[in-house]
Structure formats: structure tokens, C-alpha cells
């Protein structure tokens, strides 16, 4: 263990430096000893003082010499390798009682495991249920957890962009897929076409920050939605009431504050679910159209009773959920 850590260290100079430290220590001790002892017994006061001063000077010079020697040796010693993974806790490896307390090896294992965990979990999310073979040899616990996670996530793939993944994470392609880089004019055209499709829905397009479009969708007199896009992919959405202010104090579109009304906070949550649900990496304009069709079903938010319980209100809220396929209205607690 010590060898692995001390690669790059000049061992000879190291031992010399250790003895130099010892010499320095003794010379410093001598200085303080002579001070403590005081003046030696001599015939005249002058003689005593002279002897004392010379002795003191000698001692200080020897300290100086030893210190210089130590400094010279320390430059020769070199730095120990910094590649030990556990930094200070790696010094645990110096503990010779390896069998009784295998702390260092356990610590190393835990560290490597936790390092691998994020990259492995990312791969599971991308690949679905396939377990990379190299990993199976590594840790049984991680395999179990990752299996659980992948089975849960496999129910719905979260891959929204048409990114081609290589066989291993190291060969991540540097080139962006084509659907993420679209000319703004194309985005404008698609949005205006969709806006014309629905007469009771008006869509305004803004570009407050660079090329990302921000849409302000006004649905009849019911609600206003702000949709933040990334090229033609819907990134975020926030829904507010018709009478609420969509602009912040400095005149810009306020894309962060939540609605003041609970019903629209709920609809915002549902809209976020919807934008994750409607996915087609190769045809983002179809996705936007489906999302807008879904959103349009909210024109009768306050007029439609729940399809399941038949009532208008549940805990003070109207049916805020719209089924993704049939667009039927349900209370949040009544769906499924």
C-alpha cells in the first residue's frame, strides 16, 4: 500500500530528510537548554557573558544549518502521488492491522461503487432493461437497485430527443441530432400553422432570450399558458388564469411565478405531465400539435362535470385532468 502511494517520492532523500528533521530538533533543543542553563560559572562577569553569547550563537547557527539542509532535502523528496482516491481517508491504508479492521478496502469499494452509480443509472435510463454485462460482475446490490429502477422507468421511455447513443457512455457523440437545431423561421411557421388550426386559441411567439421561443397561448377566456420551447421541443409550461398578469414588473413575460389559483396550479402540473407524455423524437411538430389539442380541451374547464363521479367539484376543484387519448375530463382523484 505504501509503495502505491509513494510513487514519485525519492526514498533516499526522504530518509535523509527525516534524519535532518531529527538534527534540527536536537539543535533547537540545545538552544533552549543553553538558555535555560544560563551563564556558566567563570571567574569574571565578562568571561561568563562572552562564553554564553558564543555558545548561543553556535547553537543558533547549527539550527540555521539544519534548517537549510532540511529545506534542500525537502525539494528533493518530491510529491507523493495524488491519485489515491480517498484523499485523507486513504491514509487509513497505512494501518498495518489489515486483517482485523479491513476499513480501507471496504472504503475503496464503497467509493468506487458510488462513483459508478450515476453513470450506470444514466445508462439504464437510456437503454431500458438491458444490463451491461461488465457491470454484473461488480456489485450485487447495485444490480438489484438498478434492476428496480429500470423496470419502473421502462414503462415510459424518457428519451425525448433523437439522440443516438453509442455502445458505451465513453463514446458519446459530440454532434447534436438534427431535430434539436432547427432554424427559427421554421419554428415560427410551425407555430403559426398550429395557431390557425384552432380558432378559440391564440398563440403569440416571443424570443426574449436568444433563439428559444416562448409562446403565450390564450385559450378563450379561460386560461393563459406560457410554453417555453427549445427549438421545437416543449421544455416547460406554466398555466395561469385569464385575469392574471402574465408580464412581470419590467414588462417581460413572467415565466416563473405560479398561478394564484389552486385550479390553475393543478392544471400546470397536468400540462407538465402532458408534455412528457407526448413524445416523438423524429417529428416534434406532431408533438406540439398533440399538446395543443390536449390543451384546447380545457376550454370547458369550468363547465364539464367529471366523467367518473358526475360532480363538478371535488375538494373545491373542478375536473382538471384530461385523458391523453380521449380528452375526457376527470377529477385528479377520479382518474384511473
Amino acid at each position: 500500500m505504501a509503495d502505491a502511494m509513494n510513487v514519485g517520492v525519492n526514498l533516499e532523500a526522504f530518509s535523509q530528510a527525516i534524519s535532518a528533521i531529527q538534527a534540527l530538533r536536537s539543535s533547537v533543543t540545545r538552544v533552549f537548554d543553553s538558555l535555560k542553563d544560563g551563564m556558566k560559572n567563570k571567574e569574571t562577569l565578562e568571561g561568563r557573558e562572552k562564553v554564553f553569547i558564543t555558545e548561543f550563537q553556535d547553537n543558533l547557527q547549527s539550527v540555521n544549518r539544519d534548517l537549510n539542509e532540511l529545506e534542500r532535502l525537502s525539494t528533493l523528496v518530491g510529491r507523493p502521488s495524488e491519485s489515491h482516491p480517498l484523499h485523507n481517508s486513504g491514509l487509513l491504508s497505512l494501518d498495518p492491522v489489515q486483517d482485523k479492521t479491513p476499513l480501507y478496502s471496504q472504503l475503496l469499494q464503497a467509493y468506487k461503487w458510488s462513483n459508478k452509480l450515476p453513470s450506470l443509472s444514466r445508462r439504464f435510463i437510456r437503454r431500458g432493461a438491458e444490463l451491461p454485462t461488465g457491470f454484473c460482475r461488480f456489485h450485487i446490490k447495485l444490480q438489484y437497485h438498478a434492476g428496480l429502477a429500470s423496470s419502473l422507468l421502462n414503462q415510459q421511455s424518457l428519451k425525448r430527443s433523437a439522440n443516438q447513443m453509442g455502445a458505451s457512455a465513453k463514446r458519446r457523440p459530440k454532434v447534436q441530432p438534427s431535430t434539436l437545431v432547427l432554424p427559427p423561421q421554421y419554428v415560427d411557421d410551425v407555430i403559426s400553422r398550429i395557431g390557425r388550426m384552432f380558432p378559440d386559441m391564440s398563440i403569440e411567439l416571443f424570443r426574449p432570450n436568444g433563439t428559444s421561443a416562448v409562446l403565450l397561448v390564450t385559450l378563450g377566456k379561460v386560461l393563459k399558458t406560457i410554453v417555453v420551447m427549445r427549438s421545437l421541443f416543449i421544455d416547460r409550461t406554466i398555466v395561469r388564469g385569464f385575469n392574471e398578469n402574465v408580464y412581470s414588473e419590467d414588462g417581460k413575460l413572467d415565466i416563473w411565478s405560479k398561478s394564484n389559483y389552486q385550479v390553475f396550479q393543478k392544471v400546470t402540473d397536468h400540462a407538465t405531465t402532458a408534455l412528457l407524455h407526448y413524445q416523438l423524437p423524429q417529428m416534434p411538430d406532431v408533438v406540439v400539435r398533440s399538446f395543443m389539442t390536449w390543451l384546447r380541451s380545457y376550454i370547458k374547464l369550468f363547465q364539464t362535470p367529471c366523467q367518473r363521479c358526475g360532480k363538478f367539484l371535488q375538494e373545491g376543484l373542478p375536473p382538471t385532468w384530461r385523458d391523453f387519448r380521449t380528452l375526457e375530463a376527470f377529477h385528479d382523484t377520479c382518474r384511473q
Binding site: 377566456k221 379561460v222 385569464f242 363547465q303 373545491g316
Partner: protein, 227 residues
Amino acid sequence: MLNNVLMLLTVILCVLSPLLSVCQVPLAEGKSVQQTIDILHKKLEQLSAVKQGNFTVDCETYHATGNASGQPTKLLYVMHNSETPLSCLALFEGGPCLTADGNFDVLMIKLKSHFQNAKGHKVESRGSRYRYCDFLIKVGAVTMSSSARGISVEVEYCPCVVPGDCWNLMKEFMQSFLGPSIPELPSVFATKPEGLYVPADCVDTMTQYLELFSKVRKQQVLPGTTR
């Protein structure tokens, strides 16, 4: 004095962003105005509504002087609402209305020669304000010259601006704490040119309160045996 009234009619207002409808609901047997209000408060608290302070709506009547003889005196109503404390509303019944700031009262004093204040006719409604999810409910006692004349209940559904959209939703909510006697759709919306599907504003609320207060003024207090 309250106990002498045989059957005090409670007048219910329901405001739907803002929409208000008036209906008459008999009081529970032997209960006074305050007791009925307490019952309503309890029902609201059972629904887990949260009390959020108090409210006041009042209405003063002014007679317009200087009319040609033979014509009925025009009445000007000046109303205040604690929801909009800095404004007041002046309106003629069925006629034009004006939204002004608080200094309008001072102006009316200066216009003493043209408008005379009918002091005995001031009607006001005072009570507590509750919030339940996105609903605002105000339950108040209507008094005229310090005699209680009834109870006003105002229900507002804040997220919706079009009364026609949420009328059924509001009816369902009102049923949950008012019981089966639900008011009908207020006439103020029926008389609008575009009907129910035009956004409502605070003038509609105050018009409804005005209708209510007029009813209260005309109401006869029935003398009768104590119950």
C-alpha cells in the same frame, strides 16, 4: 326586538365572479339572524374553509332635487365595498353608473343642493369572509338603521371570469353549505347584451347588492308572536 319577528326572511346573495342572485330562504325555526349566521359559519368551517377577516358593503341613498314636478324623484345610490376600499360606486337604479375614488363622498356633501342624503335609508351588510380553495364566501348580516333585516351570502369563484361557464359549478358548491334552496341565475347577467358569456366585473356585484338592498328596504317587518 329580533325575537318578536315571526319569520325573518333571509335574503341570500350569490356572487359569481361576481355574480349575485337573490333568493329568499326562511330561517330555521326559532333562530335569530345571528344564530343562523353562526350555523352557516359552522357549515363552512366543516368544509375546511378558512376565515380571512371581515367585510362591509354599504349603500347610501340620495334624492335628486330640482326635478320637474310630476316626475318621480330620481334616486342616486352611492355604494362602498371593503374589497375595493379606495373606490366607491355611484349609480341610478337601472341607469348609468360611475366608479369613483373615495373622495366622491366629500363631493356629494358639496352637492347638497342637488342631492339630499336620505339618512334613514342607509343599508349595510357586515360579516366575515371565508376562503375555500378558489372560492370566496362572505356571510353578513344586513342591517338598516341598526335593525337586522336579513342575511346576505356572497359566493365568488375567483379563477373564472365568465359567469355562464361556472354557474353549475357554483350551484353545486352552494348546495354543499346552503342546503337545497339555491338561488337562480342573477338577472343582471341575463340583461347584458352578450348574455352570460361576457366577463363580469365589480359593477355587476354592486348592482346585485343594490337589488338586494332595495328588496330589504321594501320588506315589511312582520309583527307577531315571539317564538
